[in-house]
Symmetry: C2
Subunit: 429 residues, 2 copies
C-alpha cells in the first residue's frame, strides 16, 4: 500500500521549501491588510453546483459505515475556494466588515484522471476584495501588484502577468454584429493553446463564420502589448461600441496603475478571457516565460456578483488565485527552486557521554530560549556518527559541550571552522 | 445553503487566534528540531484499516461523475495522522534520516454524528520520533515537555499532563493471574468517565470477576501522584511481576526527567492506558483542570512497531497529538482565549482626496517595506467613516497624509493620541 496516485507528497526537504512559499504568500497577503479565513473542506453538493454544472470533477464523500443512511446531506469536497467564499460571505454577511479583504490558502480536490501536471489535491492561494455595490478599479491593479511582489520575493524572475478586460472582447464582437459572444470569446481565449490557424478554423467550423469575419475576430485576440499601445491597435481595427470603449478605458487604467512594475512583466493581452463566465471585467493570467508549457500559474478577475446564488445582495469583487502545488512541483523538478536542509534544526548538540545529558539538555534549552531550533543527539555514540547525522540532515552547526580545558565550541558544518561560543550570546547567522 | 453541520468555520477575528495557535505550535515543534511533513488527505481504505477495523468513522470519497467507474481504488479521508505517518515512513524509508523527528499539522475527518464538542473535520497537531530498533526513553519525556511549553506560551495555565505506562497495568493484572488483560485495561482506563462504582460493576459484570479481584484491579487504577510516590503505593498492593517492575521503572524515569516542570502540571495516573492497542509503553493524556468535561485535549504514547502493516522493519516510536479545533472552540466559547482584531492590518492610511492616491499608495509601500501590514482606505469618503472602519476592524493605527502646515501624523486608535510620524522611521509597537 502506497500513496494514492494523483496526490502529491513531499519529502521533508521539499516540504521546507513549500512552507517557505506558503509563509511568503501569507506574509505578502497580510502586508496588504487581507485577513485569513478557512472554510470547511466539505460543502453541500447543491452549493458546489450553484453556478450551474461545473466542468470540475467533484469528489463526493460518504460514511463508510453509513451505507443506505440517507440522513447525511449529499456532501462534496470543494474544488476551488471561490464557491466556499461566496457561501461564507453570504452566511456571515452581518459579521463581516466591508470592503471585505480576505485571503484563503487551502487544499482543494478534483476527481481528475491522474496525469502529469494534474493533481487530485492541491493548494490554492486566493485573495479577493468584496464590497457592497462597488469595488474601486484600483483593487484590480493591486491584485496583480501583490502577486508580482510574491514572485519577486521568491526569486521567480520570469513571471509575467497577462491582463485584459472581458468588456473589450465582448464589446468588439458586439460591434461586429455578433449576438452570441460567449462561444466566440471561448475560442479566441484558446489562442495560446491552438494558435492562429486553430482559432480561425474553429471560428469557421464551430461558429460557421465567413473567413473575413473570423479574421477580424482573430485580429483583436492577437493584440498583446507591454504598454498602452493596445488601445491604438484596437482603434485601427475600426470597430465601435460603448462596451468596447469602457473595457479599453478600464484596462488602460489598470495598466497605468501598474506602470511602476518592470516593463517586461506586464502585458495587455486581449486574447485572454478566462473560461469562467462569471468574470465581467478585468481578467488575469500569470505565466512563467521560461516554462510556457506550464500554462497559467495564477489567474483571476473581476465579477459583478459573487454570491448571487446565496444572498440577495449585489456583492461585486475582484480576486486572484495561485495554484501553488503544480507550480512548485515543476520548479523543483527543473531545479529552479533549490531544495536545502531536511530539518529546521539550526544546532545539533553533540552528546558526548551519558553523564553529560543534563548539560546537553540545559545548553539546548538556553539556545532555544534565544529563538534557535536545537536538538540533542539522542545517544552518546561516536562523535563522527553524530556529525554525519548533522551533515546528512543539513543542520548548519554542531555544538560541543565543555571538556578538559576547553569551554563550549561550535562548528560550522559548511566551512568546518570550529570556534569558542557561549550559549547565552552566540549568534546564529 | 449554509455551512454543513458538524464542521467548524471561524470568523476572521477567530481565525487570527487559530493562526496564532498554529504558529506557536509549529514554532515550538521546530525549536526541538522536528521537521514538517504533510500527507495527502486521502489514503486507500485498505491502508486506513491496516490496523484492523477502526472504531473511527471513515469518510470514503468517490467521483460525482464516476458512477460505476471501478478504476479508482477505494479511497477514504484520513481519520488521524498516525496511519498516514506509518505509510509515509515505510514508503520513503530510504529517503529519511533516522531518528526521524516529524511534526504534522493537518485536518482530519471523521464521519461522526454532529453533536456538541464532536466535529467531522478538525486540526490535529502531531509530533513523533521514529527510529530503527530503539528510541531512547528520554524522548517520552520530551513529548510532554514540548506540549507543556506550547500551553505555557499560549497562556493556558490549567494544563495538566497525566502519564502512565501500559506495562504497569498489564504487568499488575498478569501478576494477579489475569490472562486476557486487554478488556480489563479498557475498563480501568474509563475510571475518570464512569467512576469507581462503574469500574467495579463492569469488572464484575462484563469480566465476571469476584468483588475482591475487581477491587484489586480498581486499586491500581486509583493511584495518581504528582511525584514518584506512585511506586511505593503500587508496592503496597503486594503484586509482583517483571513487566510491572519494568513499567514502574520507565514511568519513574519519565517523571524524573520532567521534574523541572511545575509540580501541579504533571501526574502519574495509573488508570490511563489510551484506547489504542498499539501503545506498548508510556501513555499520555493532557487535560485542562478548569474544564474537566472537555476530557482529553492531547494524547499519545510509545509504540513498539509503527509501520508493521507497511514495511518489514522494527520501527518503534513515541508521539503525541493535540486536538486543536475542539480545544479552541471551548476556550473561545468560555472566553478563556480573547478574540481581538478582525484584520492583520497595523495601519490604515486615511485617503483624504482622489488626487492624494499616489501619495497614499507610496506611504503604504514605504511602511510595508518596513514589515508593517498596511491598507489604504479604498475611497475618499468622510474621514470619520474611514476611522470607523479602522476601529470596527480593530486596526490599531490610522495614518494621516501631510496637509497644509502639517506633515505625516499617526493616530493611536486606542488612546486617541495623534502624533507626527515619518513613514521611513515610525515604530509600530
Amino acid at each position: 500500500m502506497t500513496k494514492v496516485s494523483g496526490f502529491v507528497e513531499w519529502l521533508p526537504e521539499q516540504r521546507i521549501v513549500e512552507l517557505r512559499w506558503l509563509d511568503e504568500i501569507r506574509r505578502t497577503f497580510e502586508s496588504y491588510g487581507f485577513c485569513s479565513i478557512e472554510t470547511p473542506s466539505v460543502e453541500e453538493i447543491e452549493a458546489l453546483l450553484a453556478k450551474g454544472e461545473t466542468d470540475k470533477e467533484i469528489y463526493i464523500i460518504k460514511r463508510l459505515q453509513g451505507e443506505g443512511d440517507k440522513s447525511d446531506a449529499r456532501l462534496g469536497l470543494h474544488y476551488d475556494l471561490t464557491v466556499p467564499l461566496a457561501r461564507y460571505v453570504a452566511e456571515h454577511y452581518n459579521d463581516l466588515i466591508f470592503p471585505f479583504k480576505r485571503y484563503q490558502i487551502q487544499r482543494v480536490w478534483r476527481g481528475e484522471r491522474p496525469q502529469e501536471g494534474r493533481y487530485r489535491e492541491f493548494y490554492q492561494c486566493d485573495i479577493d476584495v468584496i464590497n457592497n455595490n462597488t469595488v474601486p478599479l484600483h483593487f484590480d491593479a493591486e491584485m496583480a501588484a501583490i502577486v508580482y511582489e510574491i514572485f519577486k520575493r521568491l526569486g521567480i524572475e520570469s513571471f509575467q502577468m497577462h491582463i485584459s478586460n472581458r468588456k473589450v472582447l465582448e464589446g468588439y464582437f458586439k460591434g461586429l454584429g455578433i449576438e452570441d459572444t460567449v462561444p466566440v470569446i471561448r475560442i479566441v481565449d484558446k489562442l495560446d493553446k491552438i494558435g492562429h490557424d486553430g482559432v480561425l478554423s474553429q471560428l469557421q467550423g464551430t461558429m460557421n463564420m465567413p473567413l473575413d469575419l473570423a479574421e477580424r475576430c482573430l485580429a483583436i485576440g492577437s493584440i498583446c502589448t507591454p504598454d498602452l499601445s493596445f488601445r491604438e491597435q484596437v482603434r485601427e481595427l475600426g470597430v465601435q461600441s460603448d462596451l468596447l470603449e469602457e473595457g479599453l478605458d478600464e484596462l488602460a487604467f489598470v495598466m497605468g496603475e501598474l506602470s511602476s512594475l518592470p516593463g517586461n512583466m506586464l502585458l495587455a493581452d486581449l486574447a485572454i478571457a478566462r473560461g469562467f463566465d462569471y468574470y465581467t471585467g478585468t481578467v488575469f493570467e500569470g505565466k512563467l516565460t521560461e516554462f510556457p508549457a506550464l500554462g497559467t500559474i495564477c489567474s483571476g478577475g473581476r465579477y459583478e456578483n459573487l454570491a448571487g446564488s446565496f444572498i440577495n445582495r449585489a456583492l461585486p469583487g475582484v480576486g486572484i488565485s495561485i495554484g501553488l502545488t503544480r507550480l512548485l512541483t515543476k520548479l523543483m523538478a527543473e531545479q529552479k527552486v533549490q531544495v536545502g536542509p531536511k530539518s529546521p534544526t539550526h544546532v545539533l548538540i553533540v552528546f558526548p557521554a551519558a553523564e553529560k545529558r543534563n548539560e546537553a539538555v540545559q545548553t539546548a534549552r538556553t539556545l532555544r530560549e534565544r529563538g534557535l531550533n536545537v536538538e540533542v543527539y539522542p545517544t552518546p555514540i561516536k562523535q563522527a556518527q553524530q556529525l554525519r547525522y548533522a551533515s546528512r540532515k543539513g543542520i548548519p552547526y554542531a555544538w560541543f559541550l565543555p571538556q578538559a580545558e576547553k569551554g563550549h565550541e561550535v562548528k560550522n558544518m559548511t566551512t568546518g571552522e570550529q570556534t569558542a561560543a557561549d550559549p547565552a550570546t552566540w549568534q546564529f547567522e
